[in-house]
């Protein structure tokens, strides 16, 4: 999946898109249909854009209210700019005890 504006150069997306790893926990695993995956974003995409893209592709994310995303094992604010190769972890709440 590619998000954001991009321009093919010599028939390929060069440098305009970057690939990040997505790791899903809890109910997010059910929503995206797997534990691990990859997504592509345009350069300088923020966490906000990642959340928008996820919600667009998987509308159930909307029901999670404000879900948090960790980048490379640290929680990040919505304004955080992601980089090529980042690992994004989606950790929805769980209530079982």
């Amino acid at each position: 999946m590619r998000v954001g504006l991009g321009r093919p150069i010599f028939g390929q997306y060069i440098r305009l898109f970057m690939k990040v790893k997505i790791l899903a926990f809890g109910i997010a695993k059910d929503i995206v249909g797997g534990k691990a995956g990859a997504m592509e974003f345009s350069e300088n995409a923020t966490i906000t854009q990642v959340k928008e893209a996820l919600t667009e592709k998987y509308p159930d994310f909307d029901k999670l209210a404000k879900f948090s995303i960790a980048v490379n094992e640290s929680y990040q604010e919505d304004t955080y700019v992601i980089k090529e190769g980042d690992e994004l972890v989606i950790i929805p709440p769980v209530s079982g005890g």
């Binding site: 926990f25 709440p93 079982g96 005890g97």
Partner: protein, 390 residues
């Protein structure tokens, strides 16, 4: 006066000969020793929920010598608890969990004090109960109580050792940790400011849980309590531990160092989470209930009504009362199957999920809905005792 006071202080954390023998394996540990053991003895820990997580937490805190352990839980033991709730035995079915748990740990360690609260933690009692303790261990099984425990701990200035489980995954963290500069570490609302939509995240009854996972995550939770109480090591403050039983992988996510979210008062957690958390408190005027005796009468009279079973397929296959199966997760998508003409009785195992279904449907349209009080379990106990219980 002064001497008497000092004497009492010493006496409070004094370890008897028996206690020295009992905790001998702790004393040779580097950085632990007698001092840390005395700290455990003077610690007061409240365990909220004596279920899957509560079982290992309560057992290990008692064995380790936490001086005062409070246990709060309103439930009785049911057969489906025993796959993970290792505090209880087959012969304990239908008995009060807090009483059983207290007896069990008193027999493990007679040197500790145990307080039991046979009730839900709620807005009326939370602050009073939590104020009696130094540390809270949250092992509850629903979102409203998670937020209540968190907020009550933040308001009372208590550290909250949090753990929760789902299917094959667990989370552990230490919330509201007191930093050296007096500030507080992040808490539940810093990670989850708003609850998920009701019904989106299944509980253990609906989504299932691997029994041994409760043991692994619960002992991690007990470990964090023991670290806080004894002052050893680095607690999971400002960090969230994620455990995946299927890959045996543990990840630690760094949170902020300080809390960003203010909590000043308790709110209505049922409304906040948009759910009807338990049948006992479902006395609200907008929810009509029907007893199993009344349902039996309706059936015997041949009354024309619709019975909808909102449990899962495997539960329905195990045993059912002849209702139409629409699992809770599908109820809104299949709401056209719910009659607007007839009286509709919603049922599940205990009345909790059907209560949630009723609330959700009621907001959606004009139905004549009744919740079956006590659910399948009440029917199996009072009407048809030949039915299996689970």
């Amino acid at each position: 006066m002064c001497l008497v006071y000092i004497y009492r202080q010493i006496d409070m954390d004094h370890l008897t000969d028996k206690e020295y023998q009992r905790y001998a394996r702790h004393f040779n540990l580097p950085d632990f020793g007698i001092e840390a053991q005395r700290k455990l003895k003077t610690s007061k820990v409240l365990v909220v929920g004596a279920g899957g997580l509560g079982s290992p937490v309560i057992l290990y805190l008692a064995a380790a010598g936490i001086g005062t352990i409070g246990i709060i839980d309103p439930d009785v033991v049911s057969l489906s608890n025993l796959q993970r709730q290792v505090l209880y035995r087959d012969e304990d079915i239908d008995q009060k969990k807090v009483t059983l748990a207290a007896n069990q740990i008193r027999s493990i360690n007679p040197h500790i004090k145990v307080n039991t609260y046979d009730t839900h933690l709620n807005n009326n009692n939370a602050l009073d109960i939590i104020n009696e303790y130094d540390i809270v261990a949250d092992g509850t099984d629903n979102f409203p109580t998670r937020y209540l425990v968190n907020d009550a701990c933040v308001i009372s200035g208590k550290m909250n050792v949090y753990a929760s489980i789902y299917q094959f995954e667990g989370q552990v963290s230490v919330f509201n940790y007191q930093n050296d500069d007096g500030t507080r570490g992040p808490h539940y609302r810093d990670i989850y400011p708003d609850p998920p939509a009701p019904g989106l995240v299944p509980d253990c009854a609906t989504g299932g849980v691997l029994g041994v996972l409760a043991g692994i995550v619960g002992t991690q939770q007990a470990l964090e309590v023991i670290k806080l109480a004894s002052g050893i090591g680095e607690p999971l403050a400002g960090r969230l531990l994620l455990y995946d039983a299927l890959t045996s992988e543990t990840r630690i996510i760094k949170l902020q160092i300080k809390s960003h979210t203010e909590v000043s008062e308790l709110v209505n957690y049922r409304d906040f989470c948009g759910v009807v958390p338990d049948t006992i408190e479902n006395n609200s005027q907008d929810m009509k209930e029907i007893t199993v005796q009344e349902l039996k009468q309706w059936k015997d009279e041949g009354k024309d009504f619709q019975l909808i079973d909102v449990r899962e397929q495997h539960e329905y296959d195990f045993a059912n009362l002849g209702g139409e199966l629409i699992p809770l997760g599908d109820i809104m998508a299949r709401s056209e199957e719910v009659s607007t003409e007839k009286e509709v009785v919603l049922m599940c195992r205990s009345g909790q999920r059907s209560g949630a279904a009723l609330s959700a449907l009621q907001q959606q349209g004009d139905y004549n809905l009744f919740n079956l009080k006590g659910g399948y379990l009440a029917w199996a106990a009072e009407i048809d005792t030949s039915l299996p219980r689970y």
